[in-house]
Symmetry: C2
Subunit: 435 residues, 2 copies
C-alpha cells in the first residue's frame, strides 16, 4: 500500500516539512507498515530558488492538479495567513484528509471547515496551529477529554515573550529592534505585539478545551504589549510578580471568559518560568488539578514540521485502517461569553502625579468613588516635580476600573495614567478572582 | 450502540475512575455518540466498605465473569503491582481491549503483553502508567513519532521530588516522616526512595521514545536518594545547581544510555522548576529542540483517573469505528545498551578529610591517578579536626570515578567519601557530556 500526499505551499514551514519527511521517511514507513510519497507540491512561483532539491515532476503552480488528483488522499496546506480557505474547502469536498498549520483559518473559519470535514468524513488536523512542538492541541483534543477544564492560561506567542524580557530592562523600541534582528519579529510586528496572534491561538485552544464553537470574535479584550515600560516591570518585580502576555480562557458557570492582555503573574507560577522565545500552556482541570506544558518552541520550521508530520502519520494510519479518528465537530456547543464588564481582578496602576499636596488624596478619592480599595502602594523618593506612583488595588469589576481610568484622564492632579494591568493574585484561594 | 466496560480492581485509583466516569458519563456519551456502561467490577472482597455506591449486580469477586463475558468489549485493569498479568493476558486473548495503569507490568512484561494485543488485534493502553495527568505517554507515542529523540530526562516520582526539598533543609529521616505524614510516601518507601518506581517508568518512556523493546532490566545504574544529606544541597546550591532524582535516557549512536540517579542540574534548567510532589518530563529532539511537559500531578486517584478515561474514550471511539489505533508493537527494535563504564560526566564529590597537612593533596593525587581534574573546590573554614570538602570534577568516565572512589575508601587521609553525584553541566555545548 502506498499513500500519496499533496502539499500546498513551500515556504519556510513547507520546506521544513519536506526536509523532515524526506529525512525520516523510511522510519515512518516502517512504523506505519505502508509506503508514503509526497506526490505533488503546489507553489506560487515555479522558478523561485529553493533551499531544498525537489525531484522533477513534483512541483506545480496549479493547486487544482492536487485537488483533482484522485490518487492523492491527504493534503498538507501550508499557504498560511488564511489564504488557503478556498483550496481547503475544495480538498475536503473531494474527500481528502486535510492538515493545516493556519491558526487564522481555524480561528475564524473553523466551523465551516469542521463541518465540511465531518460531512465528507475526513480528518481535519491542525496540531501545528498552536504551540509548535508543544502537544497542546493533541492534549486538549484527546488527552483531557475525560476531565472538565476550569481555566486555561497560555503564553502562546514567542516573539512577545522574548520582547518582554528586553522591555523590562531597555525599552519597547529597543526590544522590538532586538527581536527583529534576532529573527523573532517581522518588520511589521503588529500581528504579534498587539496580541492578535495570541488571540487567534486562544480561539483554537478554547474551542478544544471547552468544546464550544469559539472563534476569534469571541475574544475580548485583546490588548498587546506596546504600552509597557521598564518601570512596570520594576514595580511588578518588587511586589513579586512578572509581566507576561496571557491568553486567558475560563468557564464561569457555562459562560466563557476569553481575553488576551498583559498580566502580572506571581513569580512562582509555572508560566512565570516560561522565558525567552518559548511558549507555555497552563490548565486547571477538575480532576487533574494544575498542569503545565512547556517551555518549548512555539514556532519555527522544524518544531512546526514535527507536529505537522505527527498529524500526517495519524491520518495515514487512519487511511490504512479506513477510518477517521480525529476531532468530531458534532459535540460542539454554541458559545456564551461572560460579560467583560463583570470580570473582577486586582489591578496594577502606574500614574504620574503633579508633585503637590493632595495629588495622592485625589487618586485615592477617585478610586474610592468607584468602590476600589488600595492594597499596596509604592512611590520612589523624588525631587522631580512630577512624581510617579504605583499601586495595586483590591479586586474590582472591570467596569469600575474603566470608569476610574477615565476620571484619571480628566484630573489635573494626574499628569499621566498608564494603562492598568490585571493581576493574577498570589493566593488565589483567599479571594474570588474574576467572579 | 452501547459499549460495555469491565473493571478489575476497585482500590484508590479504581474508585477515582468509577467516580469520574459516573460524574461525566453523559458528556462522554454525547461526544462519542454512543452509550457507555461499566457493566461489571471484579474485587477481592465483596463485603469491603467502599467510598462509592455501586449498584446491585455490578460487583463480583470472580474476574472470570468479566473475562468470559462476550458482551464486555473493554476492560480497565487497576489491580496494580504486577498482579494483574494473568488476567490481562486472558483479557487480550478473548479479544477485549485492555487499559492498565500498572507501570510494573508494562516495564517488565511489556513485550508479552504488546504481542498478545497485536496478535488479537486489540488496543493495549497504558497512558496512566507514567506521569499521572501529564500526557507524556500519549506525546511520546503519537506526538513525537515524526521526530528523532536524542535525550529524555524525567522527574517521574513525586514522592522523592517532595522529599528532596525537605532533605535539603532537614535530613533524610525527617523528610521521610514528613512525606509519610503528608500521604506522599508509603510506610515502606523502598519502591520510591531507591529509584525503582522511577526506573519502571523510565523503561516505559524509553520504549516509546526510542521505539525499542526496553524493559526494567536495561536500566543501570538505579540509585535512590537515601544517601543524600543537606550539605550536598548547600554546596550544589552555592555552585548554581539543584539536586533532582533524574531518569535519563539517551540515544548514543543507536545504543541506549538508561539510568536513574540523583543529579546536580543547573538551576535554570526546566526540570529544576519542577517542585513539590510534581512530575516533569524533558525531551531533546532533532526537530523540536528542547521541550518540557510539567509541572503536573504525576499520581493521585483523580489525575490518574482522567488519563485512564482518556485512554478509555480513545478505545471506545475505536470500537465504534471498528479499528485499533494505538501503539503498534511491530516496529520495535531490540535494545542495545551503552556501556555504563564509558559514560562521561562531571561529578560532585563530598569528602570528610583528616584535618592535617597533605590530606587535600592526597585527594588531588588519587583523582590525578585516574586522569580526573578538579574544576571547582569548596572547603568551609573549620576548627573541626575532621574537615569537609566538596569539589566538582571535569568530565571523566564512570569507570575512572568508580576506581577513584574505591581508593578514597582505602585512604587513611579520607575519613569518609560520600557517594559521588553526576552533574548536568550548565553550558553543555562547551563539553562533550556523556560521550
Amino acid at each position: 500500500m502506498e499513500i500519496k500526499i499533496g502539499m500546498l505551499g513551500l515556504g519556510t514551514v513547507g520546506t521544513g516539512v519536506y526536509q523532515l519527511f524526506q529525512e525520516k521517511r523510511k522510519i515512518y514507513q516502517r512504523e506505519l507498515g505502508c509506503g508514503l510519497t509526497i506526490a505533488k507540491i503546489a507553489v506560487a512561483h515555479l522558478d523561485k530558488e529553493r533551499k531544498v532539491q525537489i525531484p522533477e515532476g513534483i512541483l506545480t503552480d496549479n493547486a487544482q492538479e492536487i485537488i483533482e488528483d484522485p490518487g492523492i488522499q491527504v493534503v498538507i496546506e501550508l499557504i498560511g495567513g488564511g489564504k488557503g480557505l478556498e483550496h481547503d474547502l475544495a480538498i475536503l469536498k473531494t474527500r481528502k484528509h486535510l492538515i493545516t498549520a493556519d491558526k487564522l483559518l481555524i480561528a475564524t473559519r473553523g466551523d465551516e471547515l469542521f463541518q465540511a470535514a465531518a460531512k465528507n468524513n475526513v480528518n481535519l488536523m491542525f496540531g501545528a496551529s498552536v504551540g509548535g512542538s508543544i502537544p497542546v492541541v493533541r492534549w486538549l483534543r484527546d488527552g483531557l477529554r475525560a476531565d472538565k477544564i476550569k481555566r486555561l492560561m497560555a503564553i502562546a506567542n514567542g516573539t512577545t515573550n522574548f520582547m518582554l524580557a528586553a522591555i523590562a530592562i531597555l525599552s519597547y523600541d529597543t526590544a522590538l529592534s532586538l527581536a527583529i534582528s534576532e529573527g523573532y519579529a517581522e518588520p511589521d510586528p503588529t500581528f504579534d505585539v498587539e496580541g492578535l496572534d495570541t488571540a487567534y491561538k486562544l480561539a483554537i485552544l478554547a474551542r478544544l478545551a471547552f468544546r464550544q464553537r469559539v472563534t476569534f470574535e469571541h475574544i475580548y479584550p485583546v490588548e498587546g504589549i506596546t504600552a509597557l515600560e521598564p518601570a512596570d516591570f520594576t514595580y511588578a518585580n518588587r511586589w513579586g510578580y512578572v509581566i507576561k502576555l496571557i491568553a486567558w480562557a475560563e468557564d464561569r458557570d457555562g459562560k466563557l471568559d476569553l481575553r488576551v492582555h498583559p498580566m502580572l503573574i506571581p513569580e512562582e507560577h509555572p508560566l512565570a518560568q516560561i522565558v525567552g522565545a518559548n511558549n507555555g500552556f497552563y490548565v486547571e482541570g477538575e480532576a487533574i488539578g494544575e498542569q503545565t506544558l512547556g517551555p518549548g518552541k512555539g514556532a519555527g520550521p522544524q518544531p512546526t514540521a514535527s507536529t505537522v508530520i505527527a498529524d500526517l502519520l495519524q491520518v495515514c494510519q487512519d487511511i490504512k485502517n479506513g477510518q477517521v479518528s480525529a476531532y468530531q465537530i458534532n459535540a460542539l456547543e454554541k458559545v456564551e461569553t461572560y460579560p467583560v464588564t463583570k470580570i473582577v481582578s486586582r489591578y496594577f496602576l502606574r500614574l504620574t502625579l503633579a508633585n503637590e499636596a493632595g495629588a495622592l488624596e485625589e487618586v485615592a478619592n477617585i478610586l474610592k468613588d468607584f468602590g476600589i480599595s488600595i492594597s499596596a502602594f509604592d512611590q520612589p523618593e523624588t525631587t522631580n516635580p512630577e512624581a510617579e506612583v504605583a499601586l495595586i488595588t483590591w479586586p474590582t469589576e472591570d467596569l469600575n476600573m474603566s470608569k476610574a481610568s477615565a476620571r484619571f484622564q480628566e484630573s489635573p492632579m494626574v499628569k499621566k495614567a498608564y494603562p492598568s494591568i490585571r493581576i493574577l493574585p498570589k493566593e488565589e484561594k483567599g479571594e474570588e478572582h474574576g467572579k
